[in-house]
C-alpha cells in the first residue's frame, strides 16, 4: 500500500501530476502535427467550460458518472465489469418501455419510473454474466464483452422490429410530453438553451452518494470489500461469494443502465440506435482514475466530460482531426491509469527523503 505517503498526496497529488504529464505529452503531439498547443488548450478550456460548452460537458459528465460508478462498485468486489456499454444500452430499452407504456402526467413521476426501468433492465443484462461467473466460473470479462454485442444486436432488432415507429427510421415513437425532464437551462437560465444537460445530473450525484454509503457504511459494503480483497477470507468469514457476485453485478448493471435516463429520456426523448457511444468503456477509465471512490469518480467524470466536449471543439475550431482527440484521451488514460507508478515511485522516494530529513 502507500508506504508513508500522506493521503492527500496519494489521492490528489499523484493524479494531478500524472494528468500534467499527460497534457505535456499531448501538447507535444499537437505540436507534432503543426498546431499551436497553447491555442489548443485555450480552445479546449473555453470550448468545454464556456457558456455554450458547459451544458454539453455536464451532459457527458452525467453519463460518465453512472458508468464510472458501475465499474467502480464492481472493482470493490474485484470484478471487472466491461459490460457497461451493453447494460447502458439495454437500460435505454427499459426507459423506452416504461415511458411508452403510459402517458405520464408529470416528469417527476416519469423520471422515477424511467429510473426503475433503466436499473431493472441494466441489472438484468448484468445478471446473466454474473450468474455464469458465480456458478460456472465463466470469466466475467469475456461474458460481459459478449453481452455488449448481444445487447447492441438486440437493440437493432427492436428498433427495426417490434418497437419501431411507423416509417423507415430505426427509432421508437417520441415519448409523451409529460415524460420530458427539465434541462439545466430550464432550471438555471444561465445555461445555453440547446445544451442537453438535464436534471439527471443530480440523479448521478445522488447515485454517487448512495454508492459511498453502500461501500463504506453498510454491512453489505463491508462484505463486498472483504470479498474483493480476498475471496478465501470472505468464505472463512461466512460471506457467500455467489451472493456478493450477484448483488454487486446487479448494482453495477443498474448504475450503468441509469445512464439511459440522461441520454434516452433527457436528450433523445425516444429510443434510437447508439445511445451509449462508448461511455461504458470510458467508465472504466473514470473508475480507474477516480480510484473507485465516488468522489474520485465524479471528478474524473467531469474531467472526461471536458475532454469529450473540448475535444469536439478542437476538431471544429482548429481542424485537429477527431482521431487526434482520441489519442489525447488515450494519453490521459495511459498516464493516469497504467503508468501511475512512473509518478508514484519518485514521489514516494521524495516523501521518504523528506521524512528522514525531518526526523
Amino acid at each position: 500500500m502507500n508506504k508513508g505517503l500522506p493521503k492527500w498526496a496519494d489521492v490528489v497529488l499523484i493524479p494531478l501530476l500524472s494528468l500534467l504529464l499527460a497534457f505535456l505529452v499531448s501538447g507535444l503531439v499537437v505540436m507534432f502535427i503543426g498546431k499551436d498547443p497553447i491555442q489548443a488548450v485555450q480552445v479546449m478550456v473555453s470550448g468545454a467550460l464556456g457558456k455554450f460548452g458547459i451544458g454539453y460537458t455536464l451532459y457527458y459528465t452525467t453519463n460518465f458518472i453512472f458508468t464510472g460508478l458501475a465499474v467502480a462498485i464492481a472493482f470493490h468486489a474485484r470484478m471487472f465489469n466491461i459490460g457497461g456499454e451493453g447494460q447502458a444500452g439495454i437500460g435505454g430499452v427499459g426507459v423506452a418501455a416504461v415511458l411508452l407504456s403510459v402517458a405520464w402526467p408529470h416528469w417527476t413521476i416519469a423520471i422515477v419510473a424511467a429510473s426503475l426501468g433503466a436499473m431493472a433492465f441494466g441489472a438484468a443484462w448484468a445478471a446473466i454474466p454474473a450468474y455464469l461467473q458465480a456458478k460456472r466460473g465463466s470469466h466475467i470479462v469475456i461474458t460481459t464483452i459478449m453481452f455488449n454485442w448481444i445487447g447492441s444486436a438486440l437493440i437493432v432488432y427492436l428498433l427495426v422490429g417490434p418497437m419501431q415507429a411507423p416509417g423507415m427510421v430505426p427509432e421508437t415513437v417520441g415519448f409523451s410530453a409529460g415524460a420530458a425532464i427539465p434541462t439545466l437551462h430550464d432550471i438555471f437560465p444561465a445555461f445555453d438553451k440547446h445544451a442537453p444537460a438535464n436534471v439527471s445530473l443530480f440523479l448521478a450525484l445522488i447515485a454517487a452518494f448512495a454508492v459511498w454509503v453502500l461501500v463504506w457504511k453498510t454491512r453489505l459494503g463491508y462484505e463486498i470489500r472483504a470479498f474483493g480483497h480476498s475471496e478465501k477470507a470472505a468464505v472463512y468469514a461466512g460471506i457467500s461469494p455467489l451472493k456478493i457476485i450477484m448483488v454487486v453485478m446487479l448494482i453495477s448493471g443498474g448504475l450503468a443502465g441509469m445512464m439511459a435516463v440522461n441520454t434516452v429520456q433527457g436528450e433523445a426523448e425516444r429510443l434510437i440506435l447508439d445511445t451509449v457511444q462508448g461511455a461504458g468503456f470510458v467508465g472504466i477509465a473514470v473508475a480507474l482514475m477516480g480510484r473507485s471512490h465516488p468522489v474520485g469518480v465524479v471528478l474524473a467524470a467531469f474531467l472526461f466530460g471536458i475532454l469529450y466536449q473540448g475535444g469536439g471543439e478542437l476538431s471544429f475550431e482548429m481542424g485537429i482531426p477527431r482521431e487526434m482527440i482520441v489519442v489525447i484521451q488515450a494519453l490521459v488514460i495511459m498516464f493516469v491509469g497504467s503508468l501511475e507508478n512512473m509518478v508514484r515511485i519518485p514521489v514516494e522516494r521524495l516523501f521518504v527523503r523528506f521524512d528522514k530529513g525531518a526526523a
Binding site: M1, G4, T218, R219, Y222, E223, R225, K232, Y236, A237
Partner: protein, 526 residues
Amino acid sequence: MTVETQTQGQPSTTAPVAPAIELIGVSKSFGPVQANKDIDMTVAKGAIHGIVGENGAGKSTLMSILYGFYKADAGEIKINGVTTEITDSHVAIASGIGMVHQHFMLVKPFTVLENVIMGAEDGPLLRPSLAKARKVLENLAHEYELDVDPDAIVGDLSVGFQQRVEILKALYREADILILDEPTGVLTPAEADHLFRILENLKSQGKTIVLITHKLREIMAVTDTVSVMRRGKMTATVKTSETSASELADLMVGRHVTLEVEKNPPNVGETILEVKNLCKTDGQGVKKLKDVSLQLKAGEILGVAGVAGNGQSDLLEIISGISAATSGEVSMRGESIDLTDKASAAMRRERGIGHVPEDRHALGLVLPFQTWENSVFGYHNNTEFSGKYGLANQKAMMEDTKKKIEKYDIRPTNPHLLASNYSGGNQQKIVIAREIENNPDVLLVGQPTRGVDIGAIEFIHKQIVELRDQGKAVLLVSVELEEILALSDRIIVMFDGVIQGERMPKDTNEQELGMLMAGIDPEASS
C-alpha cells in the same frame, strides 16, 4: 583487503584460513523500513552456522542479499576472503553459494535429473547434460547419503526427497557454501534427522552450511556457531556449545521468556463435538480424509499432530464450514451439522464454533482492512454491530475493537492501522482475540503460533489454555510437535488422511509421535 583476514573461532592451524563468508557493515532498507542495520558476521569455513531470530528480524533479507536477490545499500561481502559484489544470483552461484529455499523452486512434472540441470545446461541439446548430471548425481549420492532416483518425477516424491533434490541442485552447481532457509518446516522428525545427517556429512567434506531456522532445538543439535538477529541487527554470535536454548530465546526477544506452558490438569466434561467417518475427496479425486472419527470434550485441548498436508487442514475446513465433506457426519451436542456446500462459516459461528485458521494472511485477516474491520470479521452481522437499514454500527465495532486491543495487548494500539502493518504476532492476536472474545463452545485452532514471535507465543498459548479452563473445547492443529506436546491434553496423529494413533501426552514422546506422523505404528512394528 585481500585474503589474509584473521578469523576468530577458527581452530588455529598453521596458516589461517579465510572465513567462508564475511559480512562487514551490511545495511539494507526498504523505503522507511530498515531491514538490516550494519550487520557484521563471519561464517567459518567448514562449519555449520545457525542464524536465529524472530520473524521480521531480517534473516531472510540478509540471506537474500547474500544470494543476490537484493543489493545491500552499504557494506562489504567477502566470500572466501575475496571481496565480492553479488549483483545477482549468477554471481552468487559462481562464488560457490547455493541456496535451499523454504518453498522449493522445483518444476514438479519434471524428473529429478531435469530439475537438477535446469539453468545449468551445458549446451542446446539436453542429452549430454543429462548424461553428465546422472554421473555427478551418482557420486553425490555415494558421498553424502543423498540417494534420489534420478528418473523419478519430482511431483511424486515426498517433501523430504524434494528437499534433497534442492540440495543436489546446489551441489551440482558446485556450491561450497549451502544456505538452508527453514529447512525442517515441512519435514517429519525422521526426515529432519536424516537432513541433519546429510548436513553433518557435507560438513565433514569441507562444505560450509548456513542454517536459518526458528527452531532452537535444531540449532542446539546441529550447529557449531549461532548468530542471533533482532530487529535488523546482529545482536550476538556465540558458540553453540557455550549457550542454551533459553538463553538464545532471551537474546532473540530481548527479554526473559518462558518456553514452557504452565497449565493445570484438565477438567474434562462431556463430548461436545463428534466427528464420524468423515471423508473428503478433492477435485482431482485425491482422498484427503478417509473415515476420520473423533470426539472432542468440554474442557480439553485435543492436539492434532501431523506433517502439513496429511488431512488436518481439510478437517478444520470442513468443521468450520469453509468446504464441504464428501461423506460422514459431524454433530455438536448431539445435533448434526450441515456438511454440504450449502453450509457456510457463518452458520458454524452461530452454532458456537470459532475458528483460528491456519493461514491468517489468506483466511483469518483481510490485510488491507483496518483493525476495527478485521476485529469483527465474520461477526459483522451480530446484532450488536448491526445498525438500521443494513448499515454497520461502526461505533460499536470501534468500541469493541478498542477493548480487544487493550485486553490482548495488540500493538500498535491504533484501531485504524491496516492488518498488513502489524507483526505476525500482533496479527495473530487480532484473530485470536476476535475468535475467543466471541465466546465459542468449540474453538478450532490451526497453527496458532506459525510465524509468531516468541513473546507472543507465550501469550497465545496462555489464552488457549485459559479458554480450556473455562470448560470450552479446543481442537488444536499444529505441525510443531513441541507445541502439540506442551498444550494438548490428548493427542491424535494424522497421516495420509487417516488418524494413525492416539496418545496421551504424558505417555508419549517426540520419537513415537514422529513415527506415527510418518505412517509407522511403533506398537505394531515392535
